[in-house]
């Protein structure tokens, strides 16, 4: 059973692997054949060798940035979920807070990074964590709130027919109903947290983080090192995305139903 699932997984990954390998080969060939200058586009092989040569620095940088991204992500998720629960429970709060949240979201939050540096200090991690949290918060809040409120009215009436309390309805109906919406937000914000962290790092701060490694090496015309750091950053983003998928699978076993196929791209529920 598990063996077949694994085999199926590998087979489904086949085409993606093929495209990846073909893309890298093409890249290598194009750069060599057309003699594209190193600072415009280095070859995958030179990026790889810089990655190996600077491995300890890269590993440290990805750890530093990863910590900022993940902690900011968790804070943002926590804040978004809590506010969604509160606004769902107390509707009047919802009317006041949602427009405010929309207004905050319309502000390009990463542009606040220099301000956050002034507020929270440029040497620590707090300033960059705050940028990540602010970026993550909104999609989580909006999606969770949507999932908590978009419940079929019959399901609420059914629960009321059992004389269930608001809290029971929240626990038994609203929260499970919101899970697919939350999972969609999670897929979005997990890689977004890495992007936010790196952009925040572009505005200065300690030099041992991915964003600073990219800017400083690009400034020194060491583009292959900058590219190696970008590769590491994208691996970090992918890892967080994969984490989001695992959370989704584990938290919603009913979505893996026999015969139901993979319907994870379908938020909400069939009616």
């Amino acid at each position: 059973m598990i063996a077949t699932i694994v085999a199926k997984r590998i087979r489904s990954l086949g085409p993606a692997l093929l495209v990846g390998v073909a893309g890298l080969t093409l890249w290598e060939l194009v750069v060599r054949v057309f003699r594209i200058r190193e600072f415009l586009l280095p070859t995958p092989s030179s990026i790889r060798s810089e990655l190996v040569d600077n491995w300890s620095m890269m590993r440290h940088a990805v750890w530093e940035t990863g910590r900022i991204a993940v902690s900011g992500l968790l804070f943002g998720i926590f804040a978004g979920v809590v506010l969604a629960l509160v606004t769902t429970r107390f509707r009047s709060l919802n009317e006041g807070l949602t427009p405010l949240a929309v207004a905050v979201n319309a502000t390009p939050i990463v542009a606040l990074a220099p301000i956050f540096n002034a507020w929270f200090g440029i040497t620590g991690t707090l300033s960059n964590q705050a940028v990540v949290t602010a970026v993550v918060f909104f999609p989580v809040f909006i999606n969770s709130a949507k999932g908590l409120t978009e419940v079929h009215p019959d399901e609420i009436e059914l629960m009321r027919s059992y004389a269930a309390s608001d809290w029971t309805i929240m626990r038994e109906v609203r929260i499970p109903n919101a899970l697919p919406f939350f999972a969609n937000a999670l897929r979005l914000v997990a890689p977004l947290s890495v992007i936010a962290a790196i952009i925040a790092e572009y505005f200065g701060g300690p030099q041992d983080r991915i964003g600073n490694v990219i800017t400083s090496n690009a400034g020194l015309a060491r583009y292959d090192v900058a590219w190696a750091a970008i590769a590491v950053a994208s691996a970090l983003g992918l890892a967080l995305f994969a984490g989001a998928l695992i959370v989704e699978r584990v938290s919603m076993p009913w979505r893996l139903g026999v015969g139901g196929g993979d319907s994870n791209n379908n938020p909400g529920r069939e009616t």
Binding site: H152, D154, E155, E157, L158, R160, S161, Y162, A163, A164, T168, E172, V173, P176, L179, M252, W254, R255, G257, V258, G259, G260, R269, E270, T271
Partner: protein, 267 residues
């Protein structure tokens, strides 16, 4: 509220006493949904509510279930206010939308009302097994709702409504979303369950043959505001698949149809 039947005093299952129901009272969009409704339903009866769309038949069902409160008049269920009956779990409810929770397996869906009323795990397991048998879904307990067909989902919904043995079953167009064949089959099943459990049923429908096939009495409502236009007694005896081809069945549906036409003509 009680009547004497054969010398013994027995409560009505449902007693609706001069009920008016309006929505958005005091606003420009005030709607009078129901007007001076009087209706008594005996225990063990199967009563259908039928009428043009928007006549307030679903509203009436929700008044009985205390999901809505009448603007004036009173609703009592088994001799007590509808609110108390709801809190005491005297009725089970089935909607057109099966309303099964995707995240619960079929068995856990059936056990939900039992869980909410603190039944022990062993009792719940026994009862859900019994219910699955009643609706002929044994073996499907560990499935998730999305793996079932529409008819099967509606059976689970009925099993869930009956799991705590309510004395009254409120059904709001439960078979409205099913195809004709499944629908007729489910009607037969519902009558079997009704006979086995002795539950009183109030059934909202817009299908004339459905109301004739299922009910002891058909209540015809007029539209806006909904009023009880006529109550038709149905005497078709034991229902079998042949009942649908019986001339008496045809007579009954004609009678209901004419009552409905009279009502729609008045709109």
């Amino acid at each position: 509220m009680s009547t004497a039947i054969g010398g013994t005093t027995r409560e009505h299952a449902v007693c609706i006493d001069s009920v008016d129901m309006a929505f958005n009272v005091g606003n420009d969009d005030e709607v009078q949904a129901l007007s001076s409704i009087d209706l008594q339903i005996e225990q063990g009866e199967f009563v259908s509510l039928i009428g043009p769309s928007g006549c307030g038949k679903s509203t009436m069902l929700r008044l009985i279930g205390d999901l809505l409160t009448p603007t004036s008049g009173s609703v009592s269920v088994f001799g007590k206010p509808a609110h108390d009956a709801r809190v005491d779990q005297d009725y089970g409810m089935v909607f057109q939308h099966p309303g099964l929770f995707d995240w619960r397996r079929v068995r856990a869906n059936i056990e939900l009302p039992l869980e909410l009323h603190d039944w022990s795990k062993a009792d719940r397991t026994d009862r859900s097994a019994e219910m699955l048998q009643l609706v002929k879904l044994d073996g499907f307990g560990e499935y998730y709702p999305r793996q079932l067909s529409g008819g099967m989902k509606q059976r689970v919904s009925i099993a869930r409504a009956l799991s705590f043995s309510p004395r009254l079953l409120l059904m709001d167009e439960p078979f409205g979303a099913l195809d004709e064949m499944t629908r007729e089959h489910m009607q037969g099943e519902l009558l079997r369950i009704w006979k086995e459990t002795g539950t009183t049923v109030v059934f909202v429908t817009h299908s004339i043959p459905e109301s004739a096939f299922l009910s002891n009495r058909v209540v015809v409502l007029s539209a806006r505001p909904g009023e009880v236009n006529s109550v038709i007694d149905v005497n078709l005896g034991e229902r079998t698949p042949d009942t649908r081809e019986d001339p008496k069945f045809f007579q009954t549906t004609t009678e209901i149809r004419e009552a409905l036409r009279a009502v729609e003509g008045a709109v």
